[in-house]
């Protein structure tokens, strides 16, 4: 067969497809490739060119095309494929659904979030008690945080809270950058499990010890300190626990595969972790705005306490009301897997259906056993 002639025939279309790809790579549309490629007609033309290139590639083996030509076709088809199947741009509606539907469901059912929350809040409470109980655990807080830092903390809260309102936005931005960054870092390190747990425990213990130290008697600035932390506490602490939980989910996917291949297990874990992390990021941002605008302000304490209660309530509603497992959830596969133990017939049914077979089997068995020696014996004789 004359490959040169064949290639010469096909080359015109391949060149046209290349020109279209060039135009689309530059501008995202094929308009500039020529008058015939504008609008719907251009799309149809591109699709048919792509399909014929695909067909050429499919037949390349049958035609016994030279390897170089096949490599060229692979590249051409891949290139057109990238232009035909482009990334769907992120629609805001989709992310809202992820945040309001998928995330709470995942958080509710995810054991890793529970573990992370237990570790974080447990260590936090423990460190706080130990830091506050000066008699039983002398110098615990000082050893954990360093006395210099504790003194600096208490000093910085000696004055009543009255930050210049001009500064609010900068403070909020700082908290967004700093705290959300820590949360994201905690999430990313979750894939390695240990660094994530370390970050989580470290933050819990340091925060708890600081809280404990400040709640001792006779510390200056304690009132202001608690005024400051009350408003944004619920959002921020929950967000830290959530991001660590999402990270742990990733790490568990890597190390505990539940019968899947490791790669598949990681992909699934990643898919499940993203909504949780997104929820945590939103909470971090909310906490940062609270911390920037409300916490340092001179607003009456009752207002800050009110906001803390409202935010805790919102989080609870989010987790429980939106997160409660729904029966109509389409997330699960229609095909259900059943354990072998569940497949065993009910006790009542055993007498009817099962036993005749069993009996017949036992009847047949002895018969075989007895006939075998007979057969063997007859052959021997």
């Amino acid at each position: 067969m004359n490959v040169a002639k064949l290639l010469e025939d096909r080359r015109k279309q391949w060149n046209e497809l290349e020109r279209l790809c060039d135009a689309m790579e530059l501008r995202g549309r094929a308009d500039s490739a020529g008058a015939g490629h504008r609008g719907p007609a251009g799309i149809v033309r591109f699709a048919s060119l792509y399909r014929s290139a695909c067909a050429d590639l499919a037949l390349a083996d049958a035609y016994q095309l030279p390897p170089n030509t096949v490599a060229y076709l692979h590249r051409l088809v891949a290139r057109a494929h990238h232009q035909l199947y482009r990334t769907r741009s992120a629609q805001p509606g989709r992310w809202i659904r992820i945040l309001l539907e998928e995330a709470p469901q995942r958080i509710f059912e995810d054991a890793c979030v529970r573990v992370a929350a237990l570790v974080f809040f447990g260590l936090f409470a423990l460190a706080m008690v130990m830091g506050a109980a000066e008699d039983q655990f002398p110098e615990f807080a000082e050893r954990v945080c360093g006395s210099k830092m504790l003194e600096a903390t208490s000093e910085s809260f000696e004055q009543p809270l009255a930050v210049n309102p001009d500064e609010y936005s900068a403070r909020a931005a700082f908290y967004i950058k700093h705290n959300t960054g820590i949360g994201l870092q905690c999430f990313a390190y979750g894939i390695l499990l240990i660094p994530c747990l370390f970050t989580l425990a470290y933050n819990a213990v340091v925060l708890g010890a600081t809280f404990g130290y400040m709640s001792r008697d006779g510390i200056e600035g304690a009132d202001n300190f608690f005024q400051f932390v009350t408003a944004h506490g619920p959002f921020e602490l929950t967000a830290i626990a959530l991001s660590a939980g999402a990270g742990l989910r990733l790490g568990m996917g890597l190390f505990y595969t539940r019968g899947m291949s490791r790669v598949d297990s990681m992909r699934e874990a990643g898919h499940r972790a993203v909504p949780i992390m997104a929820a945590a990021a939103v909470m971090f941002v909310l906490a940062a705005f609270t911390e920037g605008f409300l916490s340092p302000s001179g607003a009456p304490y009752i207002f800050k306490v009110g906001w803390a209660i409202v935010s805790s309530g919102l989080i609870t509603l989010y987790f429980v009301i939106l997160g409660f497992p729904r029966s109509e959830s389409t997330d699960h596969s229609v095909i259900r897997t059943v354990r072998y133990a569940d497949l065993a017939p009910l006790p009542g049914a055993r007498g009817g259906a099962e036993s005749p077979q069993k009996v017949s089997a036992t009847e047949r068995d002895p018969g075989k056993r007895t006939s075998m020696p007979v057969g063997g014996g007859s052959r021997a004789t």
């Binding site: 060229y72 990334t87 992390m277």
Partner: protein, 365 residues
């Protein structure tokens, strides 16, 4: 017999059109420059935005003290957003490419060949920090500096890339993506045959000889590569295949193996089976068959030393019809044929025909 998987970095992907096409995976040495470019671009953008915001805030600060902290806020948020989400945004909007990836010619796709989804792009970019672990401290080199762990070593990502089939780092594994080479060189290669002897020899290949699929592949690869070899090497490489073929076709044993490979390529890819016999021109009447070796072909008594001149500038027209324009120039060899080993035998598709290759090359090989 199942074809062995080639031991290289290509990976097959089946498209919705049910076509399996191949990607070349991008390894660490393609991805590192892309990352460094991205790093530079990221901080360049941050500095640019910072400068713009400061300029605007500087002009506005005459009006109120409010704008100074606000500018600071914008800069902080910009640093945060760009540092964490630069890769995600670029990959989601530019079809799997960041600026660095675009310059290095690589692209992120999902492992099943689809374009990367925003969710996957987010996940793989967030997890980059874990792939960059462990971080080294600056004071490893300078003991005066306080122990700040700043310098990412990327060992975890590197190990992960080396150990996975698709060269994925941990972020890629979790997001189900891979990075492939996105070639931008577009040329359609097909070797051209300018040598009259090729068609002549091809016409003597028995009609019942069918080139197998594997043989066709080998022939094409050989012809595409042969410009890179010296004539001696060509013969050395080709001999392994052509020696049994010469036996089978009952050709003379001094046929140039390279020429025979070329003729088979010509016959397989460049002629129609139903085409009329090639116009042999001056070579008509000459036969490479072993049984014809003693027939008077006019070659045996023709001069041999002017072979290169005859071949180079003044082709066949000036020589005798069956001149030895293409024959071996080694003196003292009997039964010379135009199809026997000669360095001047085949015109390179790339080389100009009048650049006469070394005629004496044949004697060496």
């Amino acid at each position: 017999m199942a074809a062995a998987q080639p031991l290289d970095t290509t990976i097959g992907v089946v498209t919705p059109e049910n076509i399996a096409f191949e990607y070349q995976l991008a390894g660490p040495f393609r991805r590192l420059p892309a990352y460094l470019i991205d790093l530079a671009v990221r901080w360049g953008v941050i500095l640019l935005i910072g400068a713009i915001i400061l300029m605007i805030a500087g002009t506005l600060s005459f009006l109120s003290t409010f704008y100074g902290p606000l500018a600071q806020a914008f800069i902080l948020v910009a640093i945060f957003l760009i540092n964490w989400f630069y890769g995600t945004i670029c990959e989601a909007y530019f079809n799997g490419r960041t600026i660095g990836k675009w310059m290095c010619g690589i692209r992120v796709i999902e492992v099943d060949g689809r374009p990367v989804s925003p969710r996957s792009a987010l996940l793989r970019n967030l997890l980059r920090i874990a792939d960059m672990a462990p971080v080294a401290a600056i004071n490893t080199w300078d003991p005066d500096v306080p122990p700040i762990y700043l310098i990412p070593t990327g060992i975890i990502g590197l190990v992960s890339m080396m150990m996975t089939e698709r060269m994925q780092r941990l972020g890629d594994l979790a997001a189900g993506t891979m990075v492939v080479v996105d070639e931008r060189k577009w040329q359609l290669p097909i070797a051209k045959v300018d040598d009259a002897r090729v068609a002549a020899l091809a016409s003597y290949v028995p009609g019942d000889y069918r080139v197998s699929r594997k043989m066709a592949r080998t022939l094409a690869t050989y012809v595409e590569r042969r410009h890179f070899l010296t004539p001696q090497r060509r013969r050395e490489v080709a001999r392994h295949l052509t020696d049994p073929l010469i036996e089978r076709f009952e050709f003379r044993h001094d046929i140039d193996p390279d020429l025979l490979m070329y003729a088979l390529y010509y016959r397989t890819f460049l002629t129609d089976s139903s085409a009329e016999p090639a116009d042999l021109g001056p070579l008509a009447g000459y036969s490479p068959l072993a049984k014809d070796a003693n027939k008077p072909g006019g070659l045996a008594d023709a001069g041999v030393n002017d072979a290169s001149e005859a071949f180079g500038e003044q082709p066949a027209s000036q020589a005798t019809p069956t001149s030895d324009i293409l024959s071996e120039s080694r003196p003292g060899t009997e039964n010379r044929s135009p199809l026997s080993s000669s360095a001047a035998a085949v015109v390179e598709p790339a080389a100009a025909p009048n650049v006469a290759p070394n005629v004496d090359g044949g004697s060496g090989g």
